[in-house]
Symmetry: C2
Subunit: 271 residues, 2 copies
């Protein structure tokens, strides 16, 4: 098996045959149209794929390449497993949806590296970026994230709600647009209503809101509504929300089968 | 010339032969390894390329495809030109570095669309996302944007400094990591020092800072420093800065030719 070397412009040494490594690879949202050439080459060069089964299933299987597909809720175990395989000499690809660096597997792998002793703690870890869901969601309607914005996860599984509320308050108070990941799940139904309550204290009822569900998949549904028109009951764990700033505008759909367009202008009043 | 149809999962009608359109296409940072298959197909299918000459030069020329390469400082003119070409029946690709939806050409084109009358105001505008510089910069060092963060431009050309300072204050006060675009230019040397001053009021001196210059190009230089160690004089218009939150950690380089790794954990104290 030949080694795939991806040219790097930044002086990192090429990997030598025999040395294990972990590369955390972003597949982008569902849909092969966003898989970068870099990610393709890295996937082809890996000895082992590790990841949540839905993401591993998106990668074409290759003879001789092992696959470890696991449940989504064991990120720390998966990260540690990847390091152990690499410490044993394997070139391991940890596959992640979206951008592994944004609410995804890269932090989990680096946490495991930071905690690891011995050979696992010396493994070379690289990250290959991918498009994050907010970018595809934004592109579907125009450019709602065209100027300053905050990127927040509403999940309080790993952080206290008080810090989430403080960040929402801060971003809304300083008139940034917001991309909201993990706005709700089956078991988490109250946070989004609370979050919208915070935003409504700072933003006009007609502020544009983009509701993007399952971007890139067959089930994709992207709609444009407003802060007062948002139905929190339609939001689930596959949904990402984008909330405009005070300057975000809607261009109403024209006749040609179009949809409403949303954009945040580059300039701000007073400049 | 045949029409390239990119499959879309979200119900947008396929473009008909003869109808003009504008597609704002993200090339990603310098380097063909980040050009998505979607962007490649869109570039191949365009009648006309419009863009800043440095970006147009990154696209392989194709027989029969016109190219309008212009200076960087005429975004509004370029956007209007693209709409006019499309109103005349051309399939126009506006090429943008990075993600056109993040501090790039998509907002400029939508602003022009919003202002346009007649045929130019009815043009179908689509956006094809690309990797933004912050994503590649983050991936080079690990996952500094692995949890909640704010994305701000420090340029006060199109917005007042007061709003920039307010946003810095808010993001820093709520303990978000920050990606700072346009931190300085030849003519704008004071803002970064002021911005760092704001951040130092909220963050410890040892807070990790990633200084990423010209990611993806031959001139790429990515270094890890701290809020107190940052030399603002080395920052220029090709530089992007990432400033950690209070939880962002550095894993010191080990022996194997490595560099310091930086990541923001998924969990927050108190959860």
């Amino acid at each position: 098996m030949s080694l795939v070397l991806v040219p790097t412009a930044h002086g990192r040494a090429a990997r030598s045959e025999g040395a294990g490594s972990v590369t955390v690879i972003g597949l982008g949202p569902a849909g092969a149209q966003w898989l970068t050439p870099e990610a393709q080459a890295e996937l082809a060069g890996a000895d082992v794929l590790v990841g949540y089964e839905t993401y591993v299933d998106r990668v074409a299987s290759r003879h001789g390449q092992q696959r470890f597909a696991t449940d989504n809720r064991v990120e720390a175990d998966r990260a540690r497993h990847a390091l152990d395989l690499a410490a044993g000499g394997s070139r391991v690809a940890v596959v992640s949806s979206g951008d592994p660096g944004i609410f995804a597997m890269a932090s989990a792998v680096l946490e495991a590296l930071d905690d690891a002793d011995g050979a696992a703690g010396d493994v070379e870890v690289r990250v290959v970026p991918g498009l994050s869901a907010m970018q595809v969601a934004a592109s579907r309607v125009g450019a709602p994230l065209g100027h300053d914005f905050a990127v927040l996860s509403l999940s309080d599984i790993l952080k206290p709600w008080a810090i989430i509320e403080r960040r929402l308050e801060a971003a809304a108070g300083a008139d940034m647009a917001l991309a909201l990941y993990n706005p709700a799940s089956k078991g988490r139904r109250d946070q989004l209503a609370q979050a919208i309550g915070v935003l409504r204290r700072h933003r006009a009822p007609q502020t544009p809101v983009v509701v993007a569900r399952a971007v890139g998949s067959d089930a994709e549904a992207v709609t444009v509504t407003t802060l007062c028109g948002l139905d929190v009951d339609v939001v689930d764990m596959r949904t990402l929300l984008i909330v405009g700033s005070s300057t975000t505008r809607i261009i109403s759909a024209n006749g040609a089968g179009g949809r409403d367009r949303v954009y945040t202008p580059r300039s701000y009043p007073g400049s």
